[in-house]
Symmetry: C2
Subunit: 337 residues, 2 copies
Amino acid sequence: MFTIPLPAAVDENMRQNVFIGVDIGGTNLRAALVDGSGTILESIRTQIRIDLGARAALDRLAAQCLILIRSARSRGLAPRAVGLGVAGKIDKLSHSVVFSPNLPAMRNYPLGSELHTRIGIPVFMENDANCFGLGESFAGAARGIANWVGITLGTGAGGCLFLDGRLWEGDGLGFSAEIGHMIVLPGGPPCPCGCRGCLEAFASATAVVRGARECIEQGIVREGPLADLARNGQLSAEAIHACARRGDAASVSLFEKMGWALGIALANVFSILGIRHAVLGGGVSAAWDFFSGSLHSSLSGNVSMLDPDLAVVTRGILGDNAALVGAARLASIMVDS
Amino acid sequence: MFTIPLPAAVDENMRQNVFIGVDIGGTNLRAALVDGSGTILESIRTQIRIDLGARAALDRLAAQCLILIRSARSRGLAPRAVGLGVAGKIDKLSHSVVFSPNLPAMRNYPLGSELHTRIGIPVFMENDANCFGLGESFAGAARGIANWVGITLGTGAGGCLFLDGRLWEGDGLGFSAEIGHMIVLPGGPPCPCGCRGCLEAFASATAVVRGARECIEQGIVREGPLADLARNGQLSAEAIHACARRGDAASVSLFEKMGWALGIALANVFSILGIRHAVLGGGVSAAWDFFSGSLHSSLSGNVSMLDPDLAVVTRGILGDNAALVGAARLASIMVDS
């Protein structure tokens, strides 16, 4: 079933074929010049400052792209297209951000077409979790794997699905692979989406912080590093991860709960699709050592058709760069299609 | 996204092109002569008598096929291949039944190749839930729908998945679309598969009967039609459905619980795949009026990305014949591939 040929030996043509990949988060905007083999030639970062409005964000985005286009020219290269990875629901036909929880001012803003007007080369947009998948599929942990599911553990939990080597987009309803909104515990903790017990309500930075806060409010944790963080207004997934590394049992158990939920979600995806590969990314996946154990035991306990020893759940290998490389890959696929 | 062309007008060629479809259950063996348009020309039924062993079951199966081959000849037709739908895990390469809960004597028995030796025309095998899907997709409720999930509610809960108009088989691990073994309630009721809280533990004839028995054992139901059935050793999904039709509240609530679980399972499948169509079949789907209400409200309450008004969940329209027509369709697809 693993039918995707690995990229042929990288030749000079592939190196000359360059694209711009952009990863737009709630705070930062990263842009990179990426060659046809998925290698980042140059990357830059700035604040998106969405608080100044969509137009101001477009100004910053266009300026970053123009910097990279000029830099490419100085190397004798000409970027052929831009790929934009944006957290949120994208309308690809109108090149608009339909809705983005972290970029509220972008609602229904035709970011793609406005950027195209400014910089004069084709612009394509995609959900950031799908860009993560395109990156890991092309040049990362999922290279050569035909069927796999990806989960990005960040502020929320994003998902992507690759079937027969291609990004699966379902019925074209504007969403797909919403693994983060799979119900893992009916009636469980509330999720920002409005439902209860979604994977995201267990497996995301927001969920870990909320879990810590609940432990403190319910008196389960009265003192120790988590209580100190809360007192100082410094509760964050990174800080809780640091506490776990220093051996704080309460912090460790928050990540174990995340692993439990991930194990159920993956068991369900594997049972439904008859597949066995998953790649996890996003900032919170850095706490891998603290959730992978409970993930694997929960997965094993909740699949009956799949031999759990055949399941392969790994971390992405492109780290922060996955969505950048994937956005450039999107540009490359779309401009040639 | 609905790109499958409807079958062209049925021509004489299609009618001349005939196949044998076989549906092998735990008790009965049904076989039919089916033309290329999916019309059943003739069908016969006998007991499988698996208690006499795999060889005796093969004898009966071969005899039924030979009856249909002779009958076809008398019409001037020659069946080109046989499709066998069997409840259980199938190894298509060795044409064997790997394991079938209702046909234990078939374990690792090369039913397909043995039958081929007896009757001299090609034989292909498939899981019965996939045959249900092939039938409804070709000539039933899912005609023209590219992406959809099927659930068969019988003794257990089977599943099938069609993506881009084709039966999805995943990584070729010997299972796929095991919707019945998706976890809908972690730690919930035990499932014959060994896990807890699977869809099948809520939505199947076995689950409904177990639910009734628990209501009686726990004293929730002390008298009334369910208690009478239990006393007479006549608890079955059909009998409980009959009680529901006569207005028995306890029986109604058992089907409502089934609908609740189906709603969560479908919400998850729709969220994961970005699709919106499902077709339900199997004997227990006859109780549709008693579970479809809770199914729809549970589905609506557990999807955030899909507008619940776009979800289309219907009953199959081929009834008992879906797997027969689908097995014949399998034969037709495979013999020409």
